[in-house]
């Protein structure tokens, strides 16, 4: 979907979220803890295209579909993928280009 692609390419780290979703909040907290500063797009605050975005994310294979994490314009995945990456030590290197003073 165009909007998803556009938003993903405009932001180094982008998380599609819902303001009421606590798991989305948890993932945001993780990124903050790692010193990253992700852009958050709350789809429930987008009455026009929110639902379409959610459908598009599902079509892209995102397991959540929320939260949906994009880094460098590419879909990383939902909570499962983010957690797996982090435990294997692969998440921080992914985020490094976007935060010069990361822990």
């Amino acid at each position: 979907m165009e909007k998803v692609v556009k938003l993903a390419s405009e932001n180094g780290i982008l998380i599609f979220s819902k303001s009421t979703c606590c798991l989305c909040y948890a993932v945001q907290m993780l990124f903050k803890e790692l010193g990253a500063n992700p852009s958050i797009y709350e789809i429930d605050h987008d009455p026009a295209e929110g639902k379409d975005i959610e459908k598009a994310l599902m079509r892209m294979g995102c397991s959540g579909p929320l939260p949906a994490v994009f880094v460098s314009g590419k879909l990383v995945g939902s909570t499962n993928e983010v957690m797996s990456l982090h435990l294997s030590g692969s998440l921080i290197p992914l985020l490094k280009p976007y935060q010069p003073n990361m822990s």
Binding site: T20, C21, C22, L23, Y25, A26, V27, M29, L30, E33, L34, T79, N80, M83, S84, H86, L87, S88, G89
Partner: protein, 361 residues
């Protein structure tokens, strides 16, 4: 051309080596009795003919007929020797293949035994006689999903205890890595089974799962989102995994830090959910006796809770996978044993505590 020293020559039939002291006898024609049948009449005749032939064929060769005959014998001897070597080599290869087949059959047998046991467990062929009911916790519920879970969990604990004993024996024996590997895989799968069971039960009644009612009291004290805290577990495991290489030490340390960060994030998510749930239930005027007109949205929040349980279990699963990757087979076995015993201690503590004589106050 005597070789009377002892040689091991495999017998054709069994691939079994036999010492060959007196068998290295060569007749004057260089025939070896063991490997070949006695010379045919034709051969003997031809040989006799060769003996009587004049050796002057115009070739550069031995000057006397005896020399020529000797060189022909030499050729035959050399050929026989080569044939023997080849036969011996083939025999050794056959023996090696046979032994390898035996080894892999042994491994397969152990694997099948474990699978059979697991299948029997799943089919409920092991009646839970011997389960201490104090281990089951408060299970008075009419929810069939939870009743099923409690029963399955009881069996899971029994199987866990059995695996722990097995691991202990295996590590104390001189079992090789390939066999140990099977036990390690079994242990990993067993935990995986538990997470699957919990996910299903969380859909039936998430509060039952998340409150740890299905666990013993001591375990409940240490509960973090319906189970063990991965970073805590790593801390407990470390001293039991020695000796670790420097790289392994670093890897485990990094893993522990990543776990802690992931746990913190999930904990903060849970706090927010806790807050939202409390708010949802308290919505509307309290004191009017009309409860839960908002029940629909409340149920949505419960589903979010189930998602957290699944996420926490995913974290546990990933931690186990990472540890498995970092450690050698033997270390992984030690880790599983240590982890199993630790959780066992908690359960034992609970049953001791609940059955202690209470003092008169």
């Amino acid at each position: 051309m005597n070789s009377t020293s002892a040689r091991f020559v495999p017998s054709k039939r069994m691939g079994i080596c036999e010492p060959m002291h007196q068998m290295a006898m060569w007749d004057f024609k260089g025939n070896n009795f063991l490997e070949t049948s006695p010379p045919s009449m034709f051969e003997i005749e031809t040989n006799l003919d060769n003996l009587s032939e004049d050796t002057s064929h115009g070739t550069v060769g031995p000057s006397s007929k005896y020399d020529q005959e000797a060189s022909k014998s030499d050729d035959k001897v050399r050929r026989r020797l080569a044939q023997n070597r080849e036969a011996a080599r083939k025999s050794r290869l056959r023996k090696k293949a046979y032994v390898q087949q035996l080894e892999s059959s042994k491994l397969r047998l152990i694997q099948l035994e474990q699978e059979l046991h697991r299948t029997r467990l799943q089919q409920g062929q092991y009646v839970g006689g011997g389960i201490d009911t104090s281990q089951l916790g408060y299970s008075e519920t009419t929810n069939p999903g939870i009743a099923t879970f409690e029963m399955e969990y009881g069996q899971w604990v029994e199987e866990q205890n059995r695996q722990i004993s097995e691991l202990r024996s295996a590590l104390n024996s001189d079992m090789g890595d390939m066999e140990l590997h099977i036990f390690v895989d079994c242990g990993m799968r067993h935990y995986s089974d538990l997470f699957t069971m919990k996910a299903t039960a969380a859909k039936a009644d998430v509060f039952h799962i998340i409150s740890g009612m299905w666990k013993t009291s001591a375990e409940r004290f240490f509960l973090w989102i319906a189970g063990f805290r991965p970073s805590e577990l790593l801390k407990i495991l470390m001293p039991n995994l020695e000796p670790l290489t420097e790289q392994q030490r670093l890897d485990v340390s990094n893993l522990r830090q990543s776990c802690q960060q992931a746990e913190d994030a999930l904990s903060q998510g849970m706090e927010k959910l806790h807050y939202i749930l409390a708010e949802t239930i308290a919505e509307g005027q309290l004191g009017e006796g009309n409860y839960l007109h908002q029940i629909g949205s409340t149920i949505d929040k419960f589903e979010a809770l189930a998602r957290f349980v699944v996420q926490a279990d995913h974290l546990r699963q990933e931690t186990l996978q990472q540890i498995y990757r970092i450690l050698s087979t033997r270390q992984a076995a030690q880790g599983l044993l240590a982890m199993g015993e630790y959780l066992q201690r908690l359960r034992t503590l609970s049953s001791c505590w609940s059955s202690r004589p209470t003092e008169q106050t």
